[in-house]
Symmetry: C2
């Protein structure tokens, strides 16, 4: 595909309009938007479009032989999957930023790409403007990789920054994130850790060549964070961040989870504030690499979509090389974590089988434990742990593989 790219765009919300603006800024891109499919063509919009560009009929794009790239930036997962799979089946390459859809359907989408010999690119789906997927696929494509860990969600990080660095309360910080357009249409997606989880699922496919179902991964968000947790962190001179990580425990096994973490000032991610994302890639020989950039907002995401569009000019596609590696590691939840558990009415040590309690604090207002617990136990009890009086945070340390 070395001629001009003619784009059929699905979705014209914040990101869709950002793509339109970014394409107007670039003179060497050789790409233009031909049609845009939206739910309501008559809705008032801030962008002046030529007549006939908007349509509400997907077939106007999917059946247009002139369109050679589909860019999908719909907010919903299942309608997006229908469009993306229909396009791939027709042999039309697709660029997508839809992490929920990708995390749920990656195995089928990889199979569709193989069967129809067509590309699906989605660097924009993880960490907005940071090229994590592309680097894992191309640059860290060897056995040296040990760990990918980071702050993958801009809006929850923005909220925690307002709380920790600006002394705001949680509710007003959430409202501000929504006003600034950093929060997704459903804020629970960001705040409960699912946005980070979906990104982590995608990252793991490109980091280790293994797909893990979202439901099999422990995911805990920040919605139950409480003044006493913030006070605790301030006293210890640490921050609480929502962190996603995938870690090799040995050549054969790896683990992954999303949960709040107690972050020491010496860690790279400690200074990833506001709506920024930061990813640490750790490997043998090169130690730690850190990538940092804007993780939320219309234009950063759009610029990342532009990079995927440009890559199609040169026929780039993900090869999913690591899925064919000999001795790919297996996912395990048989690993022991050290956690901070704050609670008030729930009797946590009845709910959760703790391997060892290191600290216990009891007061009129709230209580906390520092304890060792198996990740498999956290998954088994995850519904009970979502009680509004409980908050959980990982205390990072070397963790051993308990299955071996």
């Amino acid at each position: 595909m070395n001629s001009k790219i003619k784009i059929g765009l699905f979705g014209f919300g914040t990101v869709g309009q950002g793509i339109y603006k970014v394409l107007e800024k670039t003179k060497n891109t050789h790409a233009e938007i031909k049609r845009i499919c939206v739910r309501d063509v008559n809705k008032k919009r801030n962008v002046d479009l030529p007549a006939g560009v908007l349509t509400d009929n997907p077939a106007d794009i999917l059946d247009d032989p002139d369109i050679n790239l589909i860019v999908e930036v719909i907010d919903k997962g299942e309608p997006a999957f229908k469009i993306v799979s229909a396009a791939l089946e027709k042999g039309i390459p697709v660029v997508s930023g839809n992490k929920a859809m990708l995390a749920a359907h990656l195995p089928e989408l990889i199979e569709l790409q193989r069967r129809h010999n067509v590309a699906l690119l989605y660097d924009a789906s993880s960490c907005g403007s940071i090229p994590v997927i592309r680097n894992l696929e191309e640059y860290y494509d060897n056995d040296l990789l040990l760990e990918v860990k980071g702050i993958l969600n801009g809006s929850s990080n923005f909220i925690l920054s307002r709380v920790f660095d600006h002394g705001e309360d949680y509710d007003s910080a959430l409202r501000r994130a929504q006003e600034l357009g950093f929060a997704e249409s459903d804020p629970s997606f960001d705040i409960e850790g699912f946005d980070s989880l979906f990104k982590l699922i995608i990252i793991t496919v490109h980091a280790l060549g293994v797909y893990v179902r979202p439901d099999d991964v422990f995911t805990y968000g920040i919605s139950t964070i409480h003044d006493s947790d913030i006070r605790y962190a301030r006293e210890k001179r640490v921050k609480i961040k929502l962190v996603a990580q995938v870690v090799k425990l040995s050549d054969d096994r790896f683990t992954m989870f999303v949960m709040p973490e107690i972050v020491q000032p010496s860690r790279y991610i400690y200074s990833v504030d506001d709506e920024y994302n930061g990813v640490v890639i750790r490997g043998e020989c090169y130690d730690r690499q850190f990538m940092f950039g804007k993780g939320a907002g219309s234009l950063p995401t759009a610029s990342s979509i532009l990079s995927d569009i440009m890559a199609r000019l040169h026929d780039y596609r993900y090869e999913y090389k690591k899925m064919n590696y000999e001795g790919r590691p297996e996912y395990t939840t048989g690993v022991e974590l050290r956690v901070y558990i704050r609670y008030s009415t729930t009797n946590v040590s009845h709910v959760l089988r703790l391997n060892r309690v290191h600290e216990q604090f009891i007061s009129d207002e709230s209580n906390y434990l520092i304890a060792d617990v198996d990740l498999s136990e956290l998954i088994a009890k995850r519904d009970a742990l979502r009680a509004p009086d409980i908050f959980l945070a990982n205390i990072p340390r070397f963790f051993a593989d308990r299955d071996n």
Copy 2:
């Protein structure tokens, strides 16, 4: 090239031995070192090699039809250029980490790659383990890119960190860098800014599609830094870092230079310490991206060479797309900088045409000026500015294009 990679290695110093060790650690690489060409085959080495691997005759590698990749990690520039160009002329792909050679010969090497339809990869040449070249080539391959700026030399940064953060004096910090193997065989290469310059030349080819001769770029190092400069920086609560930068001034023009810089604590590069490198990529829409990792040392560089080797498994090559862009910007030195100039015996305002002096401090021990000066004037007077009693540092601010 999807079968096994058989490597002919030129050079078996720190980096060459690192590559040997890294290849032993990886089981999925499908690459092995077949022959190693060194100056002295009888030299005592720490690595046990099978008999017959070492040779001192380049033809043993260049004429071996079994060898399908040449990895060149020689310390010297001109012998390296001979080997690399001979290999390319024979159609053998090359991986090189030799920035001096690349910065001097890139236009010829690009032409050789085109003429013989063969790849030369050199991500390891810039910033050790950070994938700057690959990302500029593939991910930031559009008009949005505005600036690439960073700490590109690990050893000078290590020295400045020892001086600023550990209160060591300059000479003992330099000795320590050499003991730890961070400094190149000729330390002036690192300390006078030439290592950073060569990397900047390579980066600019992949950032903006323009090759600038090393001799046309103002380059100023840290060898004349003095206690009074360190005291000045401490009093102002800033650090002095050796910074290389290429900056678009407008759609049509860009400038570039290497010099010490007064870095405020709020800047990303402020916290790039020790032997680390850090690069900030700034663009329209995505604002600033920051990449950070180990920039010096045997294994980090070797792991980067491994990434280039792996890329050859998938026939990757640089396309130099931006060299074909319409309206590539032109290099200009017609830009005004604000600088800190410390001096003792030299009468700086006689040597240098200053546009405006903002501050002047005179004392028994040493004197300094804060002044605006044209970059073209710094280039014209660069020999005089290397007097041992002068030290120069850029004070970053928005700078205007003075040619337009």
